[in-house]
Amino acid sequence: MPTTTSTPASTPSPKVNRIGLPATDYRGAKTTLCAGCGHNAISERIIDACFEMGIDPHRFVKLSGIGCSSKAPTYFLGRSFGFNSVHGRMPSIATGAVLANRTLQALGVSGDGDTASIGLGQFIHLMRRNLPLIYIIEDNGVYGLTKGQFSATADLGAKQKSGVINELPALDTCALAVLSGATFVARSFSGDKKQLTAILKAALAHRGTVMIDVISPCVTFNDHEGSTKSYKYVLEHEEALQEVSFVPAFDDIAVDYDPGTTLDVTMHDGSHLRLRKLAQDFDPSNGQQALDVLTAAHQSGEVLTGVFYLDTTKPDFVQQLGLVGEPLAHLPEAVVRPPRAVLDEVMASLL
């Protein structure tokens, strides 16, 4: 079965991309994260995906909370605006930003502590609104920046470096996202270059909330024996739901695929997400089934990756609100300040 991806793995990247920018224009400041941190690999994948998709950096915004993960946006797409806000509250900042300028592509980066502990309410409400945004959780099961305490995605029974055992069940952010209304829900692994890049590209083509939980080992505090978010554990327990590939709309290649084994989803921009079935028969348009496989994986201790849920039909929040096409932020005075007659009318009604 031929599948195609546009990850650098299969085709060497050209000097410049389709909008004429070199890959270096997608890089950011030098990382200050630990060498080997999963978050750095995710930054690389974001750089790859944006470069290859020909994203215009100045039409891209990066938002984050607080944590090692939330620092990451400084280290990619340096030519894009970034906002490193406060702990757990990126979703609301992003909501305001996206509504104020619907024409930009927004990427939110969060950590598992940032999202599943302090930020849980905002996270779910963002999903519920289907705000057009890519939301990435760089998920290491611990609070990296505050030195290794368990987060709410730490698995039951996982062991801390100090030997302490986690006695609480993990919150599954993918299941929560499906349940709450996100329209594109996936899980990947920072070390899975091919899958993560393909998912990120598809995310860039989606209109609505994309929630990607990326398992991203913390080499300093959570990469030891007994951790369920270590490189070793994930490599041994990763189970891909599908083989994910992405054909961008501008790559005008007709590629054969077998509809019996591969599902082709046409994205909003005309590109194609191709999901080749692996173990099980799985329909990503069925939220119910998504919850099923997630619950099952949870019980078996598997790290299930892939695209769990995808709905390309649901209106996003900007559409729901019926916003004008131009950015609200840039509407001129003549449009946003009603004329004198309106004030007169209102005053007259109060006489």
């Binding site: 946006p73 340096g78 906002f83 509250r89 305001g96 004030l343």
Partner: protein
């Protein structure tokens, strides 16, 4: 039915001049009983008769079944603050009627529901027992509507007793029921029933009398929250993030109404986004996100919401993001008295959030200023790149105020220092987000989406240098903090200026702010008229203070600072700002019962302190 059947000639003769167009009517009912329509008919009738009025609703933090008092004040001299004494009571609440009656001054009048049998309580009042149920039955055959219509009876009774012009009553009523002519007819019948009954039963006119005058021409009646909402509308707000809370909700609810009506493109698209957030933290975050993006964004809340916004406000201050936050104050601390008024958030808001912060705080004192501050706040937020607070309160925000019509904003919108792609080309990309190019502490910003390779910068609440790069250097931190302080100092003369409401050479001054103004004006007259104490009066309308505040204090020997809070918050802000030398002239006057401040309590309090300071003539 027309009003012509009601003969003006049969109306009682005018009462003693003292209470002519100068008294307060209080309607004591149970909330959820629908008396608000009747009260508004009364209010508008007086207003239409040219009599200056104000209407204050004292309601419980509850939806139905608890005591509520609506007080209408008529004041021929134009006082629109609360009057302490009730001259005319309409007692309909069995639970409170005894206390309500006992609380009256001698000589007051009482309309009451006959079965309540109140007339035995005191002998120094004038009683008007009215059999409400008996009167309403024939007017309103549908039994389940009677509960609502019943309240109109007292409108008719009061109209007769106080000599309201019935055509104006009808006009007020029909205005109230503009979209429901049937309901209007029904209610009009009830009013007439009350009127007729009273005319027969109480031929003697009450001492509270109304007479047409020319005190309201061209004026409007509005709540402060509606005024604030209009301010936002005309400020060109585009993003609203809010979370319901009394007494703030109606500001955003009015705003949404206005936006829906006046802010759609010809194609019906919205030029605004309103989001009911999941809580106040989120509402504030949305406003900051939108402000960062370059939109004019607002939220409105009350005390508990302010507490919850603390962290985000610190981010807005330190990352320098425009935001407008209305705080419609209610009585704290904690949940406190959600339906009572106070000025208790002032000092908390002024330096909200951990670390050294100083915000811009506007203090509207009238509904017109709620409108004006609404407009100005956005200009200031974008000019100074910082959160701007508008501190209103329940009294100002939710009560009915008479006001001159608002004036259309003449000044074009001030979007502050924003560099476009063109500017950046001109500068050859050499700029830094937090550089103090103009020496006013205000940097230039670019907006996301600006098409220039040097446009982007990284916004953060952590340490940064003048070029918006991450920095933990002490020197960068100090430079940044000092610049922020400079920026704030520089705002003093750009905020709504203090108003010298009344001048005097007595050496005694008062400083008040916010809704206290209305009681203050009247208290000043009382002191002048009753005891010859002529205080100069400066009304402060923003923090940080303009230099004229110090000048005012310098011209006085003693300055009474009036606060509607326990701890004298404005007094302390003034003391801190003026320093000990001038600050020694300040005296704190505090009122914090949760009721709108009344003139009598104010003048009593000031006179008492002044008497201690020097014997009055």
């Amino acid at each position: 039915m027309s009003t012509s059947t009601l003969d003006r000639d049969l109306a009682p003769a005018p009462a003693p001049a003292s209470l002519l167009n100068d008294f307060s009517i209080q309607v004591a009912t149970v909330n959820g009983s629908g008396s608000q329509s009747s009260n508004l008919v009364l209010l508008h009738t007086l207003f239409q008769m040219g009599i200056p009025i104000s209407g204050k609703n004292l309601f419980p933090s509850n939806i139905a079944g608890l005591p509520t008092w609506y007080t209408i004040r008529a004041s021929r001299r134009g006082y629109i603050g609360r009057k302490k004494e009730i001259d005319f009571l309409i007692a309909l609440n069995p639970d409170t009627c005894r206390d309500d009656v006992q609380g009256l001054e001698a000589g007051a009048s009482v309309i009451y529901d006959e079965p309540l049998k109140l007339s035995a309580l005191r002998s120094d009042l004038t009683y008007y027992p009215v059999p409400f149920d008996k009167l309403v039955a024939p007017v309103c055959p549908v039994a389940k509507l009677r509960k609502l219509v019943r309240n109109m009876i007292y409108v008719g009774v009061a109209a007769h007793l106080t000599c309201m012009e019935m055509p104006e009553v009808e006009r007020a009523l029909r205005r109230q029921f503009k979209t429901k002519p049937k309901a209007a007819d029904l209610n009009w019948a009830a009013i007439q029933a009350g009127y007729s009954f009273a005319r027969e039963q109480f031929p003697q006119p009450d001492r509270c009398q109304l007479q047409r005058m020319d005190g309201t021409r061209g004026q409007i009646v509005i709540e402060g929250n509606a005024a604030g909402a209009l301010g936002c509308l005309f400020a060109g707000v585009t993003v609203v993030g809010w979370y319901p809370i009394t007494p703030s909700s109606s500001l955003c609810e009015y705003l949404i109404e206005y936006l829906k009506r006046y802010r759609r493109t010809p194609g019906g698209e919205a030029t605004f986004a309103c989001v009911q957030a999941e809580d106040e933290l989120a509402a504030c975050g949305m406003v900051l996100g939108a402000g960062w993006m370059g939109a004019r964004a607002v939220t409105s809340t009350s005390g508990p919401g302010i507490s919850l916004m603390s962290e985000f406000v610190g981010l807005g201050y330190y990352a320098e993001i425009p935001a407008v936050i209305f705080d419609i104050q209610r009585v704290g601390p904690s949940t406190g008295l959600p339906t009572r008024t106070a000025q208790g958030d002032l000092s908390f808001v002024a330096t909200l959030s951990h670390g050294d912060t100083r915000h811009l705080v506007l203090l509207p004192g009238t509904v017109q200023e709620c409108f004006d501050c609404g407009v100005a706040a956005f200009d200031l937020a974008e000019r100074f790149q910082t959160p701007v607070f508008v501190l209103s309160d329940l009294d100002l925000g939710m009560n009915h105020w008479m006001s001159p019509p608002f004036t259309y904003p003449e000044k074009p919108m001030d979007r502050g220092k924003v560099l476009t792609a063109e500017d950046l080309r001109r500068l050859k990309g050499d700029w830094g987000r937090y550089r103090d190019v103009d020496g006013d502490g205000i940097g230039y910003r670019t907006l996301p989406g600006t098409d220039h390779p040097a446009a982007a910068f990284f916004t953060r609440g952590s340490g940064h240098n003048a070029d918006a790069k991450y920095s933990e250097k002490g020197a960068d931190y100090i430079a940044n903090m000092d610049r922020l302080r400079r920026k704030w100092e520089g705002a003093r003369e750009h905020l709504p200026a203090p108003l010298l409401e009344h001048d005097s050479s007595s050496g005694v001054g008062v400083i008040a702010y916010g809704s206290t103004h209305h009681g203050m004006v009247e208290a000043l007259d009382q002191m002048r008229e009753e005891t010859d104490l002529d205080c100069a009066y400066l009304r402060v309308r923003a923090w940080p203070f303009a230099r004229s505040v110090a000048e005012f204090v310098r011209r006085c020997q003693r300055v009474y600072v009036v606060d509607q809070n326990r701890d004298g918050q404005m007094y302390h802000l003034l003391l801190a700002d003026l320093g000990p030398e001038l600050g020694a002239r300040l005296r704190s006057v505090r009122q914090y019962s949760g009721l709108p401040v009344d003139a009598r309590s104010l003048s009593d309090a000031i006179r008492a302190q002044e008497a201690a300071a020097r014997p009055l003539k």
